[in-house]
């Protein structure tokens, strides 16, 4: 008990989470008198899960695209095709950021790479300053329900450790995220158009020459979302195959054809992407050990018996789940939250009759909201830092978007069909 408390305190004080999880797993094994070399055996299992191959490959491709001029091309493209509408630039922001986050994972890269282009553009087009700040902050985590976002893959990996019935197939998860993700984009777009209806439109009218030029300019990148998303959603590619194709293609285009990333800079970009990958996968690795301990010690079963005494209905459980996940998303980064909490709540949610794929979507939708939940949501700080605004101002700017997203999260939670209708 004392040791657990000490570990918790160390964790809250900023000790890397992999160390905290590794320590608690080892303490668990010691108590059960299991030889500690089992930790190494569990870590070695990283080399036995084919789906994990997708994580370094997609992350690298995302970083490579982010470091090239692709973000600017993406903005120009969406701007010419959507920007002529009333509130078009706001919609551009939402759509471009979602696409970008799906490829780079929600790690703050979106705000840094795209926000820097879109925020000044919004101000220039006479959008309200507070609205613009809130919009780019919120857009930073939008899109993590779309394939091939890393959190979806990590959820599938962690959930598969628990062998749930029905099983969690990664393709199902990708399909399940589609409509809820679109709902979020639509709801935020509708709010943006309505709230900025007073803005005198300075947007240029749609022009065919510009539309053609923007298409041509982005020509090399255009096949990427089509091939990757199309390949995954139609089932032509396995996820790890799609990742390999994406990484190789991005490498050839940005380094070989466009030459926006030089060969001398390439190792740096590779290392940066692998720092993120290493940070995520080392947590996944040590949590493979702790998950095993959690299952052995029947912690979910005990917890479930405790909860069942208090919570009888599925509805009450879902409400509690929402509150819990919201607080969690505010405090924990999404990957740590996944590996720490999913092994515990998945069995409990199953016994309340929640489909594990739906649970994944609920989990990630809540986490996404957690990024912009004051006072400590991560994107609030990144935006405050990036746009040099006091964090209090970012809080205020983000609140309307937070409310809209909260409503969509509730819809996603209490309407399972929204997630499950596309899953066979």
């Amino acid at each position: 008990m004392l040791i657990s408390f000490a570990l918790l305190l160390l964790g809250l004080l900023g000790t890397p989470l992999f160390a905290i999880i590794a320590a608690s797993a080892m303490i668990g094994f010691l108590r059960s008198e299991i030889d500690l070399s089992v930790v190494a055996i569990e870590i070695y299992r990283l080399a036995e899960m084919p789906v994990l191959v997708a994580i370094p490959l997609f992350t690298f491709a995302g970083y490579l695209l982010g470091e090239s001029n692709s973000p600017a091309r993406l903005v120009r493209l969406t701007r010419t095709w959507l920007g002529w509408m009333r509130g078009g630039l706001a919609i551009v922001t939402l759509v471009a950021c979602s696409l970008f986050t799906a490829f780079t994972g929600a790690s703050g890269v979106t705000i840094v790479a795209l926000g820097a282009l879109l925020y000044p553009a919004l101000l220039q087009a006479d959008y309200d300053e507070r609205f613009s700040l809130g919009l780019v902050t919120t857009s930073g985590s939008l899109g993590l329900l779309f394939a091939p976002a890393l959190p979806l893959i990590v959820y599938a990996v962690v959930a598969q450790q628990m062998n749930p019935t029905p099983p969690v197939r990664i393709d199902d998860l990708f399909l399940a995220g589609l409509i809820p993700g679109l709902l979020m984009v639509f709801a935020l777009s509708a709010w943006s158009v309505w709230s900025q209806r007073g803005v005198v439109s300075t947007a240029a009218p749609f022009s065919w020459p510009e539309a053609r030029a923007s298409l041509l300019e982005a020509g090399w990148e255009l096949p990427l979302p089509l091939v990757v998303l199309g390949g995954i959603y139609t089932g032509y590619f396995a996820v790890s195959e799609a990742a390999a194709v994406t990484a190789l293609y991005a490498l050839i285009i940005e380094v070989g054809v466009r030459r926006e990333i030089s060969l001398t800079r390439l190792p740096e970009v590779m290392r940066e992407s692998l720092v993120l990958v290493g940070g995520i996968l080392i947590i996944v690795a040590v949590s493979l050990a702790s998950t095993n301990y959690i299952i052995d010690a029947e912690i979910p079963t005990k917890l479930f018996e405790l909860i069942r005494e208090q919570v009888s209905s599925k509805l009450t459980f879902l409400i509690l789940l929402n509150i819990f996940l919201l607080a969690l998303g505010m405090m924990l980064d999404i990957f740590s939250a996944l590996v720490i909490v999913v092994p515990i709540i998945l069995p409990i949610a199953l016994s309340y009759g929640i489909h594990p794929v739906h649970l994944g979507i609920i989990f990630l939708a809540n986490m996404q909201l957690g990024y912009i939940t004051p006072p400590v949501g991560m994107n609030l700080f990144i935006a405050s830092y990036r746009f040099e605004r006091p964090v209090i101002e970012v809080y205020r700017a983000t609140i309307p978007f937070f409310v809209i997203l909260l409503i969509t999260v509730l819809v996603i939670t209490y309407w399972p069909a929204l997630s499950m209708v596309l899953v066979g």
Binding site: L10, A19, S37, V53
Partner: protein, 187 residues
């Protein structure tokens, strides 16, 4: 319509924490710069190998309906290596994922003290993992188990103790750097 301003989007990587003071890299001087460069190049080579092997398999399978049986397991082992070496690189300047809830509100001196403690704890835990992973590797060596294509398992697993030992060492250096700041701040 004017073009949006071009930025290189050159910076903070995903796990970089804006707003937090930049900690010094683990170690200093030319020796560590060389070490870092070597690490970067090794990481790049492993990642490049992974990309070409994984993509090559797809090409072979689709065009010639063939492939190498060893390629898939090699790619999976590369995931382990890339992950652990990436984590080692993340430890260079304390960019491991953490929950930074309390320390960001602490006064600077106290924050450095806290950092010394958390870094020491991380170093101790990593060293423990490294030690037991080392035992695992030497057992595999003793029993001469093979993973695939007659490659001994211990070679493939050896990255686990190496990486964790390296991470432990880096956090020890980070702890020393924080401790020095506590002392310097006090005088």
């Amino acid at each position: 319509m004017t073009e949006p301003p071009q930025t290189g989007a050159a910076a903070p990587a995903g796990s970089a924490k804006p707003g937090s003071p930049d900690p010094p890299a683990g170690g200093s001087g030319r020796a560590s710069a060389v070490l870092h460069r070597c690490e970067d190049i090794l990481l790049s080579l492993l990642l490049a190998a992974m990309i070409f092997l994984a993509a090559g398999q797809i090409l072979l399978r689709n065009l010639f309906e063939t492939g190498f049986t060893w390629a898939d397991p090699v790619v999976r082992v590369l995931v382990l290596w890339v992950a652990l070496l990436g984590a080692l690189a993340a430890s260079r300047d304390d960019r491991q994922i953490n929950v930074d809830m309390l320390s960001r509100w602490l006064p600077e001196r106290l924050r450095n003290t806290v950092r010394t403690v958390t870094c020491l704890a991380t170093a101790a835990i990593s060293a423990t993992v490294a030690w037991h992973a080392g035992r695992f590797v030497s057992e595999e060596m003793e029993y001469a188990t093979t993973a695939f294509s007659n490659i001994p398992t211990w070679v493939l697993a050896s990255i686990i103790p190496i990486a964790f030992a390296g991470i432990g060492l880096r956090y020890l250096l980070l702890a020393a750097a924080s401790a020095r700041r506590v002392v310097a701040g006090g005088s």
